[in-house]
């Protein structure tokens, strides 16, 4: 079993990516379980996924990297026991620190073959986020196995090059791919990286 954690700031496109990945796995006949977390008491992502035909375990009202850490581990154990999927995709809140979630997965006794963090950065608000919350953004990205610069269809080549240069400078060892969930640009490259 492989566990994927989609890390990235609020509104970076994690839920849409999650649906694309779940759809890709479903087409291959891979059994996928989805866990979505919302910081607020009121969740919307669970409803979005349900409306699109996906069943997801929703963990609202807190953050799975800190306040809901026990709830996450319990949920993972239940998923392993009841569903025993080939892949679990976890979408933490956009305010979570993915490396903390990875630690919790590792210590939850579900014994995944590998836990992989996909970092998602929103090119449209990249500069604003760096300007206002650079340290937090870096903490979100540093544990990622690879980083996607999302919404590439909405950015100029210069904007993409600048963001890629920043990420390459900060994370020289990480693979960085510009993608668009909307147009499907480079998603095939992401699918190739996904294990099952």
């Amino acid at each position: 079993m492989f566990v994927y954690i989609l890390g990235g700031f609020l509104g970076s496109g994690k839920t849409t990516l999650l649906m694309k990945l779940a759809s890709m796995y479903s087409k291959k006949g891979t059994k996928v379980a989805i866990v979505v977390n919302e910081a607020g008491e009121v969740g919307v992502d669970g409803a979005t996924l349900k409306a699109e035909g996906y069943d997801a375990i929703e963990l609202p009202d807190g953050c799975i990297c800190c306040t809901l850490s026990g709830t996450l581990q319990h949920a993972l154990q239940s998923i392993k026991k009841d569903i025993d999927p080939d892949v679990i995709i976890i979408e933490p809140t956009g305010l979570a620190l993915p490396h903390k979630v990875e630690t919790l997965v590792r210590t939850s006794m579900i014994d995944p073959e590998e836990t992989i963090i996909i970092g998602v950065a929103d090119i449209q608000r990249f500069d604003d986020l760096i300007k206002k919350k650079e340290e937090f953004f870096k903490r979100q990205m540093f544990g990622a196995n690879f980083i996607l610069i999302n919404k590439a269809d909405l950015a100029s080549p210069e904007q993409l090059a600048s963001a890629a240069a920043y990420l390459k400078r900060e994370y020289p060892d990480k693979l960085i791919i510009s993608v668009s969930n909307k147009t499907g640009q480079n998603l095939d490259k992401v699918y190739e990286l996904m294990k099952e």
């Binding site: 700031f9 609020l10 509104g11 919302e38 910081a39 607020g40 008491e41 009121v42 969740g43 919307v44 992502d45 409803a47 979005t48 349900k50 409306a51 699109e52 953050c63 990297c65 800190c66 306040t67 809140t93 956009g94 305010l95 979570a96 620190l97 903390k100 929103d122 449209q124 608000r125 604003d128 986020l129 206002k132 919350k133 937090f136 903490r139 909405l154």
Partner: protein
């Protein structure tokens, strides 16, 4: 624990001390980011495409307020409108220039559920919730907020809303009705004023005793 607290420090208490104790003194990731997440759930009555357009505007209004307050809209404002079987639509605002993204389709119906939430940075959560309430109210859609969710009423004649508008509010200062404590600025100010009055009165009593 501070002795100044009058409320019970039980599992439902969300004062800073209790939250810190729960998190072992560590900041949560949300606190680290300076993020807030608020929302409420309820029902719309008389749903159709016009209502969807009005609701879209509610998200825009909320987004503009966040942008004005914090300098830019970093985060998302979302609304799910759905039937009991889960089918429905979601509206998502992450960028004011792009507008609200719509996912899914629903036919007109008499009654439908909704979840309205915002997770953004650097704004006051109570004010944000307040603005969201206004935004829903101003759509003109017939709605009902599910019980248990915070809903203010500014029915007081002499009170003005923090949003600066002069329109009527439908928030309740519910302390007496359902045990829910309102934390809007007006209520917090009133509490402070009452606390300061009590301190003054106590001082005068002790003064009298001392004089005796």
């Amino acid at each position: 624990m501070s002795e100044e607290h009058n409320h019970k420090h039980n599992e439902d208490c969300h004062c800073q001390e209790c939250e810190d104790k729960r998190n072992g003194g560590e900041k949560t990731s949300m606190e680290e980011a300076g993020g807030v997440a608020v929302g409420f759930v309820g029902h719309f009555h008389g749903w159709n495409s016009d209502a969807e357009a009005r609701l879209t505007n509610a998200l825009i209004v909320t987004g503009k307020w966040v942008e004005k307050e914090s300098g830019c809209l970093l985060g998302h404002i979302k609304c799910a409108v759905y039937h009991d079987d889960g089918s429905g639509i979601t509206l998502n605002l992450t960028d004011l220039d792009n507008g609200v993204e719509h996912h899914g389709v629903i036919d007109p119906c008499e009654e439908i559920n909704f979840n309205f939430m915002a997770a953004v940075l650097d704004v006051d959560p109570h004010e944000l919730e307040h603005i969201m309430m206004h935004a829903i109210e101003d759509t003109g859609i017939d709605y009902q907020i599910k019980e248990g969710h915070h809903h203010h009423h500014h029915d007081d004649d002499d009170e003005h809303c923090c949003c600066g508008d002069s329109h009527e509010h439908h928030h309740h200062h519910d302390d007496d009705n359902d045990g829910e404590e309102c934390h809007c600025k007006a209520c917090e100010d009133r509490r402070k004023e009452e606390a300061s009055k009590q301190t003054t009165e106590k001082k005068s009593i002790w003064d009298k005793i001392r004089r005796k």
